[in-house]
Symmetry: C2
Subunit: 341 residues, 2 copies
């Protein structure tokens, strides 16, 4: 891995830091000045020519400075980079956010996403896993007026699903209560996804006389489970990419923003598998055509059985050190919160 000698590494790093900051090609003079090495610009030029031949740098045109290639960034990320964690101030900001009035897990995701977007200045996203595997805890059917009722379904983790539906026949409150009771007795502490498979005979026997209503209730359970069964994607800081000079081109901007707006499309761009603790995808390493000019920094978090993802998206010219450090820190924070929650 460490194919490059110390000097080449220094030069590569210097160019990367400069380029990330300014978005301009970096010349040999700039390298010596910034890094004040005791070597001359001419020497740097020679090394830069080498680095270009090796593929780590490239030249927009003959008389410009160099910019790091994707391969150059890759080398830096793999062999040289140190992650830069959250600063104390940032942690303090986060603390405040977490202390505020948040009651739903989803709201946490939103807040944390905003936090990531704020500290990195990139687009953040958090995938909240589906809640398929929790246990059935409680069911209640509550009559409203005008032949309508609402069905509540509570799982042991405190997830609450509900749905309004029409009561198919004239039914007394006592009946609804009775049905609720039976459901509760039969399904108490069962896995939710087992419910439909499990033997419905008991119900049939017990409630034969209200067959239609039971069908309806099962249908509603079905639909409610389906809804909560899909993972959610939370995006924040989409407008941050407006600040990146590479998006002065309106067409490019539109392409990327459109991609981010469509949940369906968005899920595609996030790779299924995350190899390392923090996985970095640079430019064309991404499979989707429209983000071949962007980079992703992602991690996976685990919450009692389910796994979700979080990460940021920015230009290839990205502060990978900050992004990776932030994503890593927040990952563990999410896992902590989940434990308490």
């Amino acid at each position: 891995m460490g194919l490059l000698n110390e000097r080449k590494k220094n030069i590569l790093e210097s160019i990367i830091k400069d380029y990330v900051e300014t978005a301009e090609p970096v010349g040999s003079r700039a390298v010596v000045r910034r890094h004040d090495l005791k070597i001359s610009a001419a020497t740097v030029r020679n090394e830069m020519a080498d680095l270009e031949e090796m593929g780590y740098l490239e030249q927009p045109h003959a008389s410009a400075g160099r910019i790091p290639s994707e391969m150059g960034f890759r080398y830096y990320v793999d062999c040289m980079m140190e992650r830069e964690s959250l600063t104390d101030e940032e942690i303090e900001i986060l603390q405040k956010i977490l202390m505020s009035n948040i009651h739903e897990w989803d709201d946490f995701a939103v807040k944390i996403g905003e936090f990531i977007a704020q500290v990195t200045n990139y687009v953040s996203f958090i995938i909240v896993p589906s809640a398929k595997l929790t246990e059935f805890k409680y069911l209640q059917i509550i009559p409203l007026k005008e032949g309508k009722a609402v069905m509540l379904l509570v799982t042991d983790t405190g997830l609450i699903m509900h749905r309004k539906f029409e009561i198919p026949e004239l039914i007394k409150v006592r009946d609804l209560e009775r049905i609720s009771k039976v459901f509760n007795r039969v399904f108490q502490d069962k896995q939710l996804k087992e419910i439909r498979r499990s033997d419905l005979q008991i119900l049939r026997d017990d409630l034969k006389y209200r067959k239609k209503l039971i069908e309806k209730v099962l249908e509603v359970i079905d639909s409610v489970c389906e809804d909560s069964g899909s993972e959610k994607v939370v995006i924040s800081g989409m407008l941050n990419i407006l600040n990146e000079p590479e998006f002065k081109d309106l067409e490019k901007l539109k392409r990327v923003l459109t991609l981010l707006k469509e949940d369906a499309l968005l899920k595609n761009i996030i790779p299924e598998e995350i190899e390392e603790d923090v996985s970095i995808k640079i430019g064309r390493e991404n499979k989707i055509e429209d983000i071949k000019e962007m980079s992703l920094v992602l991690a996976e978090y685990r919450t009692s059985g389910e796994t979700g993802k979080l990460g940021v998206m920015g230009p290839i010219r990205m502060e990978y050190w900050k992004a990776a450090g932030t994503v890593e820190s927040v990952r563990s924070i999410i896992e902590d919160i989940w434990r308490i929650f």
Copy 2:
């Protein structure tokens, strides 16, 4: 009102239509060609000079065509415009959307907002009113594991609020049931906002032995009401403004998008009062500095007691006829849906 003679009106309309379509100043030749009147370009030029003097047109520079002034648009909107309702295809699209699996009122708002954005190509927003005034219907406290419980609160309209909270002491399931029962008996069919004011004596007498728990429950009711008590704003089609040539300027774009991103800011731009059935605010008629280059088309909808708003935001060079027609149609559709819902 009808200050302008027929010919001037025709010319004004022609210029508006052309300018809205092309975003370019309109010349005298273009007017005759498009509108094929039997008058010559020179005549039109004279009329245009008049219209400019009257303030209905303006000239970006001496040798360019004319563009309608805000006053010109205002005149057109007030005295000449006919609203253009949804087409049959559009209504069909909407039908499909409304038939799909939607269970929550909020989801409807989102879908309808997307629809408006789609047919107008502007930014749409819908303000969903708070649900303060509904009646308490049902309360249930459901124990989960580890000293936690979830409180459910159902209103007669089927609105369901819930909150997880920690049970302050070791409490048996029976106790929770008992407390729920008492709450239900006492508050059945009361206005939600009366609950805290109403005489809590009954509770105290009945449940003296669980004072701490009751305090907690009241606190949760409080917090849950507060949450649902604020109106929500749903925005769609934000990216549509990327297509408007007036936003080729990145800075302007950023200002407006930022405004739209911040819910808090967004509420400010929507005027409190809506004078007519469909109210149109053109450019500087808007109070907020940042949208002085935009126009709003708004309406109010009524749903059993509460009123919400909906509308679109576009450039001053806007298809007011389409926007107004759409907003008007959708307003009545919303009111219909609400009735069924």
